[in-house]
Subunit: 447 residues, 4 copies
């Protein structure tokens, strides 16, 4: 996935723990490999960060230890007592497909596998820990969550922005909670780290486990984030519509805008999956509009050849075309983006009019339709697995980590490794190759 | 459906014909009712325009002839020779689910049932008849149209606005076309009437058959227009999303805008079908925003009671809130509507802020997603039947008519009856009753 | 729809009532037509049973009263006190799409519109009234039913077969129930009639309202039954699969079996909606397999011409090919049908082998997949309306009726009118015409 | 994924080639890593077969070369001349979602990226190479394949079983084909290997590239096969139906049978994705029916606790319960499996009757519905990438390989490595862990 593995040397990849795990797991698994029975995972099992033969040789030649991540999975020894461990679940930030599946799986894993009767659902994000909001708590019994995996959104509600971590830890203590599961983006996970730090400061025994949530798929060292597949799959429906509209008029153009603040994963995957996109514009690839080889000229040439075109643009693409003085921010602290889709529509209309190319431009912004839908089965499966590994980690007393998946294996990633930067689409990766070959667009627009 | 049947007295409900139909139909149907074999339909079979016992008694008492419509269906005698009749198909105006299904059925009916080898597809609406556009023609063989019923839009492309009817008739003559099938909205059908008039003026023997297309379902004397069910069904997905978003935040509000320039059928049907709409605003029902009992106050009360709300608004609702001096028009001659959804969003935010009610408002405009999708099976079935009856009418030499469905029966409606006015949602109808009872909204907003 | 309206003369089409309705409705509707406000419906409003001009003239000439049905809708005067009326809901027989939507709408209408706090859900069909089964009751509050319209099946469970109507009335009395809503097929409705009779015998004031449920759409005098559209829509997916399989092999044949014990509505609608069926076999149209013009010969000819074929067969078709001595019955008393799909598959293979036509036959029986799915939006809307009218009828003290829809209007139909016979597909109807023209199959197979 | 990497030592993992690649690629990619421009891939780039830190250490300690696979991707030097290379595509064996997407992508890659005008589509599998069948060929131009990615199945048709490889190579020569793309299962790939061998024997310069197709996902050293995700996603719909049916009756049981001849991947993934399966039975895990802890007893206990159960069974599970003397085979040489679903249904009914547990058992066999559907977007994307890499490999003159994906990277796998054995679900893997934890079923049924 084009990671610079050298960067990993700056981090301690070992996972923090609240203390020695000494309690027998109630799960009836095996400690012996090869007996055909599912195994407990030991802390010594680690997944290599590199998978290229050349890179391996290089590192070995330089005598460096190959970086690796602790494997996730059920431990034979627990830190918390099964049947008596209370936990809390909170969902923060924007909605994302699969939130309810994660909530449900956390509740089921606690209830049925570890026999814990109390998994508290915290309402409306971190606000729910602050009494003055008056949001209340619910206990996530199997009955309460029975059908939620069929519904989009989060049954707990959400909110943006941080809350006082002192008050949150006060509340956790008061609730007698041993494990906190936070589901959210990088802001949320930084908040989770603050909570974990405050817990450490007070010398409390509360585990904090993050499940990273980003519809943009921009979590470092994680193959994919939950909800991402659903998002780009749903985006394909909007692309179909754009394609139909484009072909429905002479020289018709359909523009679709999708998620992707600083990375174009949704756009790239949707473009390749749909097969019907002619231009895919993402934040990682700056482009020129005007001039020879510029986007508008290339588009005009295509229109004159094929009489229709479909453009897919990530919301974060082309922000350089706007003046960002005085740019507003949302409650999560993100810059409010300018509407690149609308901008393109207007620029295209002007350009084509100036060049006497009759055209009809349709702009489609599916927005919430992509994110508030129920997860695809493959995403649903992934949500279950993330939650499953989160509960195993929590019961084992591990803390200050998030559940990741790296080269196909579930791993424990230190919280600060994840929040350090956003993953961006490598323009030298297989994924971008696929985009170039499905669209046929030039490697660069301009000069 | 709340029609004022008195208006029908102003129209000649008899259907024009090019001359006597004398050629035997190749279809192997029966002229005898009750023999269990499908029947040819005679011109004497007519469907009553009224179905209320009281109204019937009234009309009988007043000694008036009950108005009725000619029944559609296969005729035993044809005007045009099967196997040798060329026809043309044109699709005009905005896209609508089912266009391709109608095109395909017209081609199949001509090819397989009446053995006609040439059904020309005219490209990009009425423009396709005008040589200077250079759009070209295609012959709609079974192979050409085999898969199109699985695709949204129209394989022929479309365009807005009229073209010179003299040139169109020139082209029809040149193409040796005997039947023209026009699929479009009221502008298109007025154009079709002009063509039919020009044909009559030249004393040509070309039949003009309209298949009315309006995603708004606002065709008079027609139970439903094709594509309408698909449109409101698809709108339900956007409503689901709005519901999820509304519940995902404290005092969350989801606003969805749907089609409906002058009539609220899409909104009303979608609101009832989804079960999750709290307020449905349509052009037929003016509403007050401010003041006691105004929309904003009622909304605030709901928020404080239930902490979320879903609003569904037809695009043509509340246009009185805007200043329409200098309002633009599109190429079809329709006024460009102001964006009532965006307006509501801003008004709600202002009002709630002024009343210290924290809220999060999400606005969803599914736009083309609703109209460029493939038809539901029930719509697909309906498209087939409309096309089927169109071809039967065309081969029988009937002209200047559209295919309608009235109280469940397919009928021939004179072209000018249909284009005289738009159907609007009767606020004393069962449909509006359903909206009021599913939403619980007051009969009126304000005083 | 091809009814023999003479039969209606054998029935009293007036609706029974428990007594005079004297209590003001809490609904804020109007008694005045034309004021733009939704109206209460009076018992004098009736919908004509006939809509053909010729038939009207005939009846008028013969001096006969045109039969008509009482219009459904909200009454201004109620028999039962809003806010204090308890009701019960029971679902019986096989699952059908929309059951949960009907349950939810009954609960919501009672709770929100008539302010009734108690709508009891009876578990597992009529069994739920019999204490010895120990199934228990639940109160269908808005919270309990909030999400059920998104789920297939019935949240109450169901069972087949009757229970002692004396015990049921005992239980209703004990529960203090004033209105019983029974949702089920003709067996269930006959049971409902027995209950209504027992109530009358005991001179109790309990209303019994039926909502007919049949996935086969075989209810007399009812345009369509709920769940039917969903069923044939879902069947189209199986037909798509059969089409894909048929085209995937040389001389491939796909056979799909769908619901339809004694009537072919599901098959006929699905065949026309899908556009890809070549042969549609239904119970109403007997067919010959062997001999000149027999089904097998016609199929062989098609294979040799087109190299694939799709066959859609209703489960009740061709039962004459089996020996029904000792035929089993299910708990509802229905004959267990022989598997016509499997039979056709074997006969086709034998015949084609005998005629040296290589072929691959794939048999698809989607079975429960068609019936346990969630309703389409159009069905969901219809479910709401049926339930809405049921509650209006119940609160008005009407009894021994079912809610029907006739020529597009909701009406009250006497229970015994409905259970007298099954609706069958009229082979002289527009629907069968559509099947013949979409498939191109001969009017008859054999001679 | 639980591979025994030692086995790889038995294979030559280098990829065969027709000769030196000396022709410049027309693709405008870069040879320099880090310049932000997509890169050509060199034959030296290899993907490590192991990703466990412990295993790496072991191999290093033993001084063994870590096995690795050649990376797939565009080569800067080609063997065949772009613009003049003819290729052929053939699809064999059972249908699988995504076949059309692969065909379309092969055609597009050849036409648009490598400017090759002729990509022949071979009809009905290997039969299409044999003139006596008379199936004919088609040229897969962009127009021909434009819409096929929206359709299930294969536009080329398929057939089972091998054909004479001598005749096939004769035909390839006669067609002047340089690259043959074969899409099929292990039988097909063994056939492809025979063809490649025959080509070598004749010293011809024809590349043979396999794209493995198995809905069961049982290809060795390949993360997932195309169509597999679609299959288990579609299976989830049948599970939903089974769940609805199970809850619709007292002690209701729903049984669903899915693909999986010798491996339980479809069942395991669907069980975890759906969240509603209580028992998942696969070929890799033998189970006892009778006796203490046997399946039937565990099922009975669940019924008595929860009153419903959903069972998901792979078609190849429990074959030991049948007598396989005289077992038939299909044309591909696969044993015809006994119907384990039907068997379970009967055994359950007998057992529950014997134990006086009333129950209703519904058996759902979605069969072709799972495989003849269109691919999910994620599968569609994957199909594009497989085809993309296949064409790059073919143009580079590589041969006797299949395109695989290993730990997230596309690789070239020697044909004989793939056909050596089936991948089976490792019962010590994360996937099986997920099944055990989502179902709660015991690790073993019956000691």
């Amino acid at each position: 996935m084009g990671y610079d593995h050298k960067k990993l040397l700056n981090y301690d990849l070992n996972i923090e723990s609240l203390g020695e795990a000494t309690i027998d797991s109630p799960l009836k698994f095996s400690d012996t490999k090869g007996d055909g029975v599912i195994n407990f995972v030991s802390d010594e099992e680690r997944v290599l960060a590199i998978n290229s033969q050349n890179e391996l040789k290089e590192w070995l030649n330089e005598g460096k230890e190959i970086p690796s991540f602790e494997k996730a999975g059920p431990r034979s020894k627990l830190y918390f007592t099964p049947g008596q461990t209370r936990s809390a679940v909170v969902t923060c930030g924007g909605l994302c497909p699969g939130l309810n599946s994660v909530i449900r799986a956390l509740a089921y894993m606690n209830y049925y596998r570890y026999h814990n009767q109390f998994t508290y659902g915290v309402k409306y994000g971190y606000e729910g820990f602050i009494d003055s909001f008056g949001h209340g708590l619910i206990n996530l019994t199997p009955e309460t969550v029975e059908h939620i995996h069929k519904l989009g959104g989060t049954m707990l509600g959400s909110s943006r922005g941080p809350q006082d971590s002192g008050l949150i830890v006060d509340k956790l203590t008061q609730m007698n909670v041993s494990v906190l599961y936070t589901i959210g983006g990088d802001g949320t996970l930084r908040g989770a780290k603050d909570i974990a730090d405050e817990i450490k400061r007070r010398n409390l025994k509360i585990s904090v486990i993050g499940i990273p949530k980003t519809i943009d798929n921009d979590i470092m060292y994680t193959d994919k984030s939950f909800g991402f597949e659903t998002a780009f799959s749903k985006a394909c429906e909007a692309i179909d519509v754009a394609h139909v509209e484009a072909k429905g008029a002479y020289n018709g153009i359909g523009i679709v805008k999708v998620m992707g603040r600083s990375s174009g994963f949704v756009a790239a995957n949707a473009a390749t999956a749909s097969n019907d996109v002619n231009f895919c514009l993402i934040p990682e690839v700056p482009f020129k509009l005007e001039g020879p080889g510029g986007f508008l000229e290339v588009l005009k040439n295509r229109l004159q050849r094929s009489h229709h075109a479909v453009i897919l643009v990530a919301e974060g693409a082309g922000q350089n075309f706007f003046d960002d003085t005085n740019q507003a921010h949302d409650a999560s602290g993100n810059k409010k983006l300018f509407d690149i889709g609308l901008f393109l529509k207007e620029e295209i209309k002007k350009y084509m009019a100036a060049h006497n190319v009759p055209t009809t431009v349709k702009y489609i912004d599916p927005s919430y339709i992509i994110r508030s839908t129920e997860p695809t089965p493959n995403d649903s499966l992934y949500c279950f697995q993330l939650a499953q590994h989160a509960v195993h980690a929590g019961m084992a007393g591990k803390t200050n980590l998030v559940i990741g998946r790296y080269n196909g294996e579930f791993v424990h990633l230190p919280m600060d490794l994840i929040t350090s930067e956003h993953k961006r689409l490598d323009t030298e990766s297989e994924m971008w190759l696929s985009v170039l070959e499905t669209t046929g667009q030039p490697v660069k627009f301009g000069e």
